[in-house]
Structures are given as structure tokens and as C-alpha cells.
């Protein structure tokens, strides 16, 4: 995907988004006072999962992090090739959804081959070979079918995420043997077979397969191994481990109790952190952070290290708040607790010590929640300047799932430029958007939000004035007024779309499908349960993972002349 799309005033989306946004703007959200009553009413109404069409099987391209997480599990945490996979389309706010469409071309295959070569070489390396190769060949300089079979069976099963078929294992072993003979080295021969496994589409593409659901005639369900994969990529961002594969093998994963046990185990596992980090890294569009650079003259304190650590800061805060502290999701946007490292502290100009520390800003501080993290503030700014429009747009699109329309191509800026007047603050500069009716329609959706964050410059550092003029950070979010970013954070906390957007994203992420109008009832149900659970994200993950629509679906009736397929691409909307 070309980054050009992103940078051209950075707005995309359809006209539908504009209408929806207006609808939202004109309708004030429910006030907190009768929230409790409605919550109770909701509880009673939506405790049962509605019937839904469910989420179909997909063929997804593995991401780099999934690949690395899996390598770490299968081969050891130190096997970590330095590799970048090709970028993937962002669909409906998630790269995860783009993986169901991404193709694999020559360049990528070449990369997979080289990476496979690197990993295999590490696996057989004399100082660490005993970790994976737990048997010893009769003769190190010759083939040994038994030992090769043992290793390849385990590696193949874990990398293909299901047991190897007999003839596939036989083929792998025969390649290992013939290679060992040609190279005069058992381990080198084994390495070639391991490369073959790592390069296979069965490893690099995650194929979900379906079977008829015996409990629900006329319906299909994911087979046990596909369900295990879908769960582990959802919750752990990695291939299923031995325990999950076993549960698939015995059929336990297809029983209600068995599946609940598995899911609870996964949520209690430290590996949940990887899954949650991957999700928020995607939802927050943190891929931007890898290429984020600022004007070194304007923001000398913002370095490449800062960008890296800024991403880490937010991800740590997310994990700490949602998992460790079992916090309310909404409080992520108001909490004054976060994490600090020396490069970040140098940008904040705060004292710190070596490494990462958990840090609490005082109640009097303007730093409250993710909106005031360096990651958010800096990545949605220009290299040498802050941007109320970009920040407002990011809040709308990333946190509230409200797409902001593109600017018209023929937008005329000549009226904006008045070389005689010196706009002191951004508020003065972007005011023009709101005065001009052509611009106001969209900018009203973004600018008032972004202006609340103007107390933070383009690098995320705090300031009270810009070019000598005091910054006015007041505004409103869909009717809720505030005088500064702390007020904006509170308004965001109470905004109904904050939680419903997360639910939509989590559901799409977990099932691998864009949400459509058909999912409306399902989303309503998930929202109700999320509220019931005090907006605790592990509970939401659990609800999604255990829902019927996560693993069952009604096969679409075939279109005239078309064969029934198991993994059709969804209608785009």
C-alpha cells in the first residue's frame, strides 16, 4: 500500500462516514445518570448470544510478529531472524483483515526462503542443536531416518499447526536423508528439510478449514485445528502450542466445557500479553512508528529511540492496565499511570533511572491517558509542527471507528494564505477551516478535538504557549465541552463509541472478517456483555473466543453457476 494515500491530507473513507459522523454529532450520547438503569435493562435483554451468520474460514498470510512468536516457541526464544515482511493492506482499520487478501510474490518468497535458511542453520548449530534435536543420529555424517523423523514430526506439526500426514512426513524424511547423504552430514541434511517446512504455504499461510457441524445440521464449523489456530492467533498472536493441538486432536476443543477450559488457560497465560500487544499495535496503527521521524532542528529531543520507546510505552501501559490491573478499558484514556524509559524521560524532561519504570503523573499534570502519550501525539503530527486535524482524525478513526472523509481534490488554499498575517497558534490557523462552509463539514469533526491537544507540540512535549501566545485548548467532543485535554479525555471516556469501537475491532480481529450489517445483533450482544463485565478486555476476549459465531457459520448459498466455496472473500461495504 502506498503511503501516499496516507499523507495526502490523510483523510480517507466514504461518504457514508460523513453522514454517520453528522448523525453522531447531532445526537448527544446518554448521560451518566441513567446509565445504570439502561445497563441493567441491557443485561436482561442481551445475555444470550444471538443467531448470526458467523465468521467464515479464511486464508491469511502470516505476519512477521506471528512468525517470530511461533519460531520462539518452536525453536527457542533466541531464534529471532532480523526480517521485515512486506506491508499489508489496512482494511477497515486493521492490518489483520488485510492478511486475508494479501498475496505472496517472488520477492516475498525469496525472503521466506532466506529466513528459513537462517533459522534452520541456527537450529542445527552445534552449541544449541540439542534444544530442538533431542535425539542423536547413529552417525553424525550420515542420514538417520529415525532421528530425522522424530524431529521433523514435531517441527512439522507445530509449524503446520496440525499433525503431519504420513506421506508428508515420509517425504520430508526422505529429503533429509538424501540431503544428508549428499552433504555427508546428518544435521545439514536435517536443516534442508526444516527449511522445506518453514517455506511451505502450510506454514506461511494460515488456512482455516471447515467441517459440517454435527450439533447443528446445515451449519458448518471450523475443524478442531483451525479453531485452535484461530484462538491462538487471536489471543497469543502465534501458532497453537502443544496443549492446544492436543485439545484439537482429542476433540476437547469442540466441546463447550473443553473450549472454555482452553480459553481460560490462554487468557491466564503470560502469552496473552503478546496477543494484546499485537491487537493494539494494529488498532493504534503503530506501524507508523517505525518510519516516524521529526525535523531534527525543531524537535532535537525526538530521536529514533524515542519513537521506538514511545510505541513500547503505550503497549506496556495497555498490558499493565488491561491485564495486570484488570482495569476498565475506558480508563486507559484517563489513567495517569504509564511507563517511562530514559529516552522518553529526556523528552518529558523528567528524572528517571535506568530501564523501564512504572510511572505515575500527578493529579495536577495534563498527562492523562493514551491521548497524551508521545506515541499518539507525535505520530499524528507533522515533522516540524503539531496538527489538530491529524490528531482529531486519529481519535475519530482509531478510537471511535468513525471514518473521516477525504478532502476534495480541488480544495483551494489560496484564501487560507495571507502572507501579511502571522497566525500565532494552530487554533488561529485552522480556524479558517471552520469559517469556510466547504471545509467546515469535515473539519468540525476533527479540529475541535485536535485543538485540545495543542498543549503538546509535534514531538509530544508539553507547552503552554505557541509563538508567545497562550494556548487555548478548549473545545467539544460531540456536544461535551472541555477546557483542556484532561476534559477531552473524560469526554472520550464517556463516549459510547469508545467501547463499541473496541468491540467491533476485537470481533473483526478475532474472526478475521470485516464486520457487516449482518453482525449488528452480534455486536449489540458483545457490547452488552462488555458493559456487564465492567469493560474488562480479557472478559471481552473470552466472550468473543467462546461465542458460536467465532467458530460456526452458515454456509452462504452458492451464487448461480458458482461452486460452493469455504473461504469466499466477503462483500466489501
Amino acid at each position: 500500500m502506498s503511503s501516499k494515500v496516507r499523507f495526502s491530507s490523510l483523510l480517507r473513507g466514504s461518504a457514508i462516514g460523513l453522514v454517520a459522523a453528522f448523525a453522531l454529532a447531532s445526537c448527544s450520547g446518554p448521560a451518566g445518570s441513567d446509565g445504570a438503569k439502561t445497563a441493567a435493562a441491557k443485561q436482561v435483554a442481551a445475555v444470550a448470544e444471538p443467531a448470526s451468520s458467523g465468521a467464515e474460514p479464511r486464508l491469511r498470510l502470516i505476519t512477521r510478529d506471528q512468525y517470530l512468536n511461533t519460531l520462539a516457541y518452536v525453536f527457542g526464544a533466541d531464534v529471532r531472524p532480523d526480517v521485515e515482511f512486506a506491508p499489508v493492506e489496512r482494511v477497515d482499520g486493521l492490518l489483520r483483515l488485510g492478511t486475508s487478501r494479501a498475496g505472496v510474490n517472488d520477492t516475498q518468497l525469496e525472503l521466506y526462503q532466506k529466513t528459513a535458511q537462517f533459522v534452520a542453520a541456527q537450529v542445527i548449530e552445534p552449541t544449541r542443536r540439542n534444544f530442538v534435536i533431542t535425539c542423536k543420529p547413529a552417525n553424525e555424517k550420515a542420514a538417520d531416518a529415525a532421528c530425522a523423523s522424530q524431529v521433523l514430526n514435531r517441527v512439522g506439526r507445530l509449524m503446520f499447526r496440525r499433525p503431519l500426514e504420513k506421506d508428508k512426513l515420509a517425504e520430508l524424511v526422505s529429503h533429509a536423508n538424501s540431503s544428508a547423504d549428499k552433504l555427508g552430514d546428518f544435521y545439514a541434511g536435517l536443516a534442508v528439510a526444516i527449511e522445506e517446512v518453514l517455506m511451505s504455504p502450510k506454514a506461511m499461510l494460515i488456512a482455516e478449514t471447515a467441517e459440517p457441524d454435527p450439533k447443528n445440521p446445515g451449519h458448518m464449523r471450523l475443524d478442531g485445528y483451525s479453531l485452535a489456530s484461530r484462538l491462538s492467533y487471536f489471543l497469543w498472536d502465534a501458532a497453537p502450542d502443544e496443549a492446544l493441538l492436543k485439545a484439537a486432536e482429542t476433540g476437547e476443543i469442540q466441546t463447550e466445557k473443553g473450549r472454555a477450559k482452553i480459553v481460560d488457560m490462554m487468557i491466564a497465560s503470560p502469552r496473552l500479553k503478546d496477543g494484546l500487544r499485537a491487537f493494539f499495535d494494529d488498532m493504534y496503527d503503530f506501524e507508523k512508528m517505525t518510519t516516524l521521524a521529526k525535523d531534527a532542528l525543531v524537535y532535537p529531543a525526538f530521536t529514533g529511540l524515542t519513537a521506538e520507546d514511545a510505541r513500547e510505552q503505550t503497549l506496556r501501559t495497555v498490558v499493565d492496565h488491561l491485564i495486570t490491573k484488570k482495569g476498565d478499558y475506558r480508563d486507559l484514556y484517563t489513567t495517569r499511570t504509564t511507563f517511562l524509559s530514559p529516552p522518553l524521560a529526556a523528552l518529558y524532561q523528567l528524572p528517571t533511572t535506568k530501564g523501564w519504570i512504572e510511572y505515575q503523573f500527578p493529579d495536577s499534570s495534563p498527562r492523562a491517558g493514551v491521548l497524551t502519550h508521545i506515541s499518539f501525539l507525535a505520530s499524528h503530527s507533522h515533522p516540524g509542527r503539531s496538527s489538530p486535524t491529524l490528531r482529531g482524525k486519529a481519535l475519530r478513526e482509531l478510537l471511535l471507528c468513525q471514518p473521516v472523509p477525504r478532502p476534495p481534490a480541488n480544495v483551494d488554499f489560496s484564501a487560507l494564505e495571507n502572507p501579511k498575517s502571522e497566525h500565532k497558534t494552530q487554533r488561529d490557523r485552522v480556524n479558517f477551516h471552520l469559517e469556510n462552509p466547504v471545509c467546515a463539514g469535515c473539519h468540525r469533526i476533527t479540529d475541535p478535538i485536535g485543538l485540545a491537544m495543542e498543549n503538546f507540540d509535534g514531538s509530544g512535549r508539553y507547552r503552554t504557549s505557541e509563538r508567545g501566545a497562550t494556548i487555548d485548548a478548549s473545545g467539544n467532543l460531540d456536544g461535551k465541552q472541555y477546557t483542556n485535554v484532561v476534559g477531552l479525555a473524560a469526554a472520550l471516556h464517556d463516549h459510547p463509541s469508545l467501547t463499541s469501537c473496541l468491540v467491533k475491532r476485537v470481533y473483526a480481529y478475532g474472526t478475521g472478517s470485516q464486520t457487516t450489517n449482518d453482525d449488528a445483533e452480534m455486536l449489540k450482544f458483545l457490547n452488552a456483555r462488555f458493559e456487564q463485565a465492567g469493560y474488562r478486555v480479557p472478559d471481552l476476549l473470552r466472550t468473543v473466543a467462546l461465542s458460536k459465531s467465532f467458530s460456526e457459520f452458515k454456509e452462504a448459498a452458492p451464487a448461480a453457476g458458482e461452486a460452493k466455496t469455504a473461504s469466499a472473500v466477503p462483500a466489501t461495504h
Binding site: Q349, T353, S365
Partner: protein, 387 residues
């Protein structure tokens, strides 16, 4: 002295923020053991301020025209001396030439060497007036006109290329920033960075890397340094000082500075000893620049220079140990030994510091949540194990 309270930047937030956040936030959070500092609060805080050295070089004045200082030539290095001392047509054995020369380097004798050595000529030089007097060997500062500058090291090495634009000179600032050599000063009992007649300056070795800016060439205020009070005790010295019109001056005391080689830090010569060292720094909230001046202990200074850079590297810029040593001993001007031979030589360092937040080991880091453990380090370790 009256305590000056820095104006708070964020008082406007206090009321609105606390109202917004009382509900729901406190329960999930552990309070910080010590309340966080304000962002961007550089300058003196709680009557203290720290600075870390980001630049050091010997104060070697270089005239536009080098000939005015070194009319004959710049000094020979080992290869040139070798040719002169051991001519080709003479008898040359390894023992009689290379070993003899290196022997003379490491174990100097009083033997006369038949090679020239050039010292800086003229009366212009930079540094500090260490003895308060204006003597016949003293220099005059070219910019300020100050008289009585004591800088015999300048006299001794001023015509040696290494100490002008050569490698010894250009590498020194880099070495100062190397991990072992982080040099921190903490000013305490400070009521004003403009005028204060009683402050304390304590030196330390720092434990953390310097934070550079986005270009990688400049150093930023607002970083932090944890002090090495465990292995670096010998670098800790407290100086009494005063600040007048923004300039800090201190008493004179012996000071050991970390100065390990970046190439081979364990080479066994990580220190330089200065006798009667003192500071003269222009202070701001973010920087401290100026001089450190005193008498370098000749032997440790000389030994250090050759342990950190061998003869081959010294040869890149005309430094020959044996003649250098003789000149140092000749020009040494303080701390006579029992035989009346001065053992220390006047010198000055051009120094630049940037502001740094000082962390004393065992102290709390303001704002850090440490889940009930005692010290900042323990908490940071505990945080790492929880990862």
C-alpha cells in the same frame, strides 16, 4: 538565602483534572512513593542541580599562525626520534634501539637524549590563574586579557601535533562521553544560579549513557544519571564554592577523574589525578561551561597517556614519551617531593556540561511506582523480573 519557588506551569489543570479523575482512577492505581516532578523542570530543584560533562579538552591555545608558537618545528614523534637516535649507519640491535626506547618510556632515567624538543613560545595562552600571582612563566588570555594564567602543560605539549589538531586532542571529547568516563557534578545548597555565596559541588562517576539529540551530535538537558557510589568512590569529592553573577568558582582540592581508554578500558589506567583542582563555570538552567584547572600529577598523567594510546598511536601526532616526560618534569611547577622536584604540573581543561537529573542510589525516583519495594534500583529490577 531566600528560597525561590519556581512558578508552577500547570496550576490551571489542577482543579479541573482532579474533579474529572476522582471517580474510578484511584482504585486501580498504586500511588507513587514520591510524587512526580513537573515536566520540563530544569534548573535548580529543591536547592540542587546536576550537570554531566559532555565535552573536555586540554586548554591548548592555537594561534592562527602556528609558527608564532612553534617557530622551529612541531615535535618529532617516535619514528623521527628513532631515526635521529639510532642512525642507519650505526650499530642497531633490537635491545639497543626499540627496547631501549620503550624502556626509557616506561621507566624514565635522567639520561640526556640527543633529540630536540620544542616548547611553545610567546606569552599567549588560556587556562586559569591557579596561584593567584602573575609570574614570569605565566600566560595572558588572548580573549579576556587576564594575566597570570598557569598552564605549564600547554607550554610542554603546545608544539606537539597530537595536542593541537591531532588525534589525542580530537578523541578526548569522544572519550569523555564513553560509558566509563561519565563525569557528573551535583551542586547542592543552591539558592540561586546567579548569586550564592555558599554552595557545594560534588563530583561523581555516572552510570548511564548520555542522551544525544536527533542528529547524534549534541547532548540534551533533561536526561538522568544514576551515580556510581559503589565502584566509583574515589571519584567523589566535595568542593565548597560560590556563584557570582552566574559564574561558579570553587576551592581547590585533589580530584581523580575517570579517563579510561575507549579501546581497551581494562588497560589498567582509568584515572588521572589532579592536585588542587578547581572549577570556573558559567551556569544556566541547562548548561555549565568553562574551565577546570589544577595541577596534573605528572606521573599519572604521563602514564595514563601512554597506557591509553600506544607508541604507534602516539606516532600519528608526534608524541614521543621519553622527551615528553623530561619536559614535563622540567616544567612541573607544584607539589615538590623530598628532593625538591615538582611532581605536579599546571593545566586547565575546557569543559562543557549539560543539565542532568541526578539519581542517588537508594533514593526514590520521583513519580515511580515501586509496589512497596525500598529503593529505585530494587524497584527497577523488580519491574524487569515482572516482564
Amino acid at each position: 538565602m531566600k528560597h525561590i519557588i519556581l512558578s508552577t506551569q500547570v496550576s490551571a489543570f489542577a482543579v479541573a483534572a482532579s474533579l474529572a479523575l476522582t471517580a474510578g482512577s484511584a482504585s486501580a492505581q498504586q500511588a507513587a512513593a514520591q510524587p512526580a516532578a513537573k515536566e520540563g523542570a530544569l534548573g535548580v530543584q529543591n536547592r540542587s542541580i546536576g550537570y554531566v560533562m559532555v565535552f573536555e579538552n586540554r586548554s591548548i591555545y592555537q594561534a592562527k599562525d602556528a609558527k608564532t608558537q612553534c617557530p622551529v618545528a612541531l615535535n618529532d614523534g617516535p619514528p623521527e626520534q628513532f631515526k635521529k637516535l639510532y642512525p642507519e649507519n650505526g650499530e642497531r640491535t633490537v635491545e639497543g634501539t626499540r627496547l631501549a626506547w620503550e624502556g626509557e618510556l616506561w621507566n624514565p632515567t635522567k639520561k640526556e637524549l640527543d633529540v630536540p624538543y620544542y616548547e611553545v613560545q610567546g606569552k599567549v595562552g588560556r587556562g586559569m590563574n591557579l596561584d593567584g600571582k602573575v609570574g614570569p612563566n605565566d600566560y595572558v588570555d588572548p580573549d579576556t586579557g587576564e594575566k597570570g594564567i598557569d598552564n605549564q602543560i600547554y607550554r610542554t605539549v603546545g608544539c606537539t601535533f597530537n595536542y593541537r589538531d591531532g588525534q589525542t586532542s580530537t578523541l578526548t571529547p569522544q572519550w569523555r562521553r564513553a560509558a566509563y568516563n561519565i563525569f557528573v557534578i551535583e551542586l547542592t545548597d543552591v539558592d540561586s544560579l546567579q548569586n550564592d555565596d555558599d554552595v557545594t559541588v560534588t563530583t561523581y562517576r555516572g552510570n548511564d549513557r548520555l542522551i544525544t539529540d536527533a542528529t547524534g551530535n549534541e547532548y540534551l538537558p533533561g536526561g538522568s544519571q544514576t551515580l556510581d557510589t559503589r565502584w566509583g568512590k574515589r571519584y567523589i569529592t566535595a568542593f565548597k564554592g560560590k556563584i557570582k553573577d552566574g559564574v561558579l568558582t570553587t576551592e581547590a582540592k585533589d580530584l581523580i577523574m575517570p579517563a579510561a581508554s575507549v579501546y581497551a578500558p581494562r588497560d589498567g589506567a582509568p584515572d588521572i589525578l589532579y592536585r588542587d583542582m578547581r572549577f570556573q563555570l558559567n551556569l544556566t538552567d541547562t548548561q555549565a561551561n568553562g574551565y577546570m584547572g589544577g595541577y596534573a600529577d605528572v606521573w599519572t598523567w604521563y602514564y595514563h597517556s601512554h597506557k591509553t594510546r600506544d607508541s604507534r598511536h602516539q606516532a600519528y601526532g608526534g608524541t614521543a614519551g621519553p622527551t615528553l616526560y623530561r619536559a614535563l618534569m622540567k616544567n612541573a611547577d607544584a607539589f615538590p617531593d623530598a628532593n625538591g622536584q615538582n611532581t605536579a604540573i599546571s593545566t586547565a581543561l575546557d569543559v562543557k556540561f549539560v543539565h542532568v537529573f541526578v539519581q542517588h542510589p537508594g533514593a526514590q525516583v520521583a513519580g515511580m511506582v515501586n509496589h512497596g519495594t525500598q529503593s529505585a534500583e530494587a524497584a527497577a529490577t523488580e519491574a524487569r523480573t515482572r516482564e
